[in-house]
Symmetry: none
Subunit: 214 residues, 4 copies
DNA sequence: GATGAATGAGCATTCATTCAT
DNA sequence: TATGAATGAATGCTCATTCAT
């Protein structure tokens, strides 16, 4: 139940691709700078300098600056998010014996930790989603499919035990995610470093348990 | 209980300032284009063309492009949002006789309509907030003060009637806002035009009533 | 019967257009450099420097480097060539009283002088024609129409006097032009400065008179 | 009297040089692309891709891109053109028995076919000649020497028979070439595929015979 | 006040060329 | 010998900003 953080997953993802060391460092520099200053305010020269390579190298594999952005986001969309979601689902299923309240507390805490650990990356994603909504669309579809199939039985079992309101499981997921998002977005945007995770978890769970009881 | 939409308020706001017709049209053009393409991807020439003025005029009053952005956001932050919040508070206070559930339904619906009516403007705010978090900070502080003083008595009365959980009123506000934000953000980002307002209101309220009952 | 040379016509043409002094000098610098080094080997910075303006100015009116080339060639294609052709036709018609041999000598000499006076400009045209054949197409059509209507009667009168072979007048024009082109192209390409105009005129005319007699 | 076309000669020429298969394919790719898009608009990467080799290989033998161009043009200038000219001269000499008119018809037709068969290659040569006039100089000198020595006797014999004007043989050659060039250049530039060779030959010869009769 | 020509630093991108493997 | 990643100068082009009229 120990989780790999996104940065490590990202680095691993790079290793599997057929990229040279320099190209890898270009991607890392891009991630850093896009998160720090936003895509539009990061010049390819900035990236080249931080990566310790020439500008030509930046374009050798990624063709365009946008290609670079895609290459930075691709692993998040196509590999890391699903894998993290998968890990999450496995964890959830391993907790079936728990009561719904314990389960919820675990799940919420897990996601909060995950989101706050990767504040920077989340910021890029939010920026890009606002500019290109289809990213959000693809992501929700992708994660939706993944979660629904895995989580359905779990919710049914809680519903059978009378611990969970008998809504459609997607609605429950949406509700939980919505509440978490609503709580965390200010913290992500403000790069709030001193969020009290336990207190936040408690606050969110107390409310969710009320709202989701039958 | 009829609300002025943001665009009209914006135009009115412009009228009160000591700006010439040309300067006004510059601000309007900026609002339109920033919402459409984002701040970074809008050139001052674009603005000048849409406003029907010369490039020089764009800089006459607003000095820099960033000054223009500030001038576009200022009325939202310093005037329109507070005024809309004030209207909203007045409406809420006028409904004191209702039960909490009716009150909540009204409030939620009102905010959803407001947010969806001004999707474009919301998008700029989100973009800018992600880039410059202090905007979010200022806004929350500002609205927080305004709402707290106005809404406190209202919540206490509902709490006395046993219709509302006895949390701190700010926590209740934060919770309600968080849930609404969590629900609406995807629709705002995706400029979703066909949101079923009644269904969404019902879904949110059903959940909130559960979660906020004592 | 005195002819304005292309450079003067070009300058005049510029004066009529609504261009600033700087833009005019950009066009002149472009003409010079394109002729000297060819389009591809001339950078916009080269042009800016020679014109004594900033690079931005180069693009202000002409949008792209290709736009600049078009602006340089346009007056040749749409204004100067036709006007020169018109002048030429008028001159020819004014010489009707002469014998065909005198007429031919005059015409050939006139065109040789014209071509050699504007060697540089001719070089650009040749380069561009090789790259974009439709320029040649447009030019031949344009000049063809102009010459045919004007020259037909003239040739008929010479044919009636038994001084000129009874070919279609377009064929005669094509033949004369072809011979001149065949003779001059080496000199234009090599920017040959010491062409003996009288000797060349004699050589061409002697041959053409033989070939074009009935 | 059947002629090998330039492309085959080119390939043969490559075979004789001590080049590897890869180098040969680099030269072929260069010829193709330079003809298609011009020297300046062809990148060494384009060439490498079409040749199916790496970029490094392109530079292994030819050192620079210009070296590549020289290597492409060298066989034309130093080998193919002279050889073709030689073939042509031999053919001409084999026709001594004919009348001048038959001889001319054959010669003109032969050159037209040759030029039109190799339109693409001609285009490169024209482009390069305009940019670097010394190519034209070298070529004319080279061909001049070759033709003069071979053709002098032939012309004298026709002149003795009273079929050919008693001009210097170089002037006659220049005249014939000039007329052909003047006729064909438009077709080469426009890559005109549907030239009626017989009609053109007739037209040119009819005129040349008039012009070159004593 | 308004204009729009002019600026010049900055940007993404290309490309001939080199060199370690 | 062949490769292709790396280079970095050069290029076409953009854009916020200034200023003379």
């Amino acid at each position: 139940m120990k989780h790999t953080d996104v940065e490590t997953l990202f680095a691993n993802n790079l290793d599997t691709a057929n990229l040279s060391d320099k190209q890898r460092s270009v991607l890392k520099a891009s991630l850093t700078l896009f998160a720090q200053k936003g895509y539009e305010n990061t010049s390819t020269l900035d990236i080249a300098k931080l990566a310790g390579v020439s500008e030509g190298t930046v374009f050798k594999h990624f063709k365009t600056k946008d290609g670079l952005l895609q290459a930075v986001l691709k692993p998040f969309l196509q590999d890391i998010f699903p894998r993290v979601a998968g890990e999450f689902v496995q964890d959830l299923q391993a907790t079936q014996i728990l009561e719904f309240s314990d389960f919820l507390r675990f799940a919420v805490r897990d996601r909060i930790v995950y989101a706050m650990d990767n504040r920077a990356e989340m910021k890029i994603m939010i920026q890009e989603m606002v500019k290109k909504p289809q990213i959000l669309e693809e992501l929700t579809t992708r994660l939706g499919v993944l979660l629904q199939s895995a989580i359905n039985q779990l919710f049914v079992s809680y519903q059978d035990k009378g611990e969970l309101v008998k809504w459609d499981s997607m609605r429950i997921v949406r509700t939980i995610c919505g509440v978490i998002v609503g709580y965390l977005i200010p913290n992500i945007i403000m790069s709030d470093e001193c969020l009290d995770i336990d207190a936040t978890t408690n606050e969110i769970c107390e409310f969710l348990l009320h709202g989701l009881q039958p």
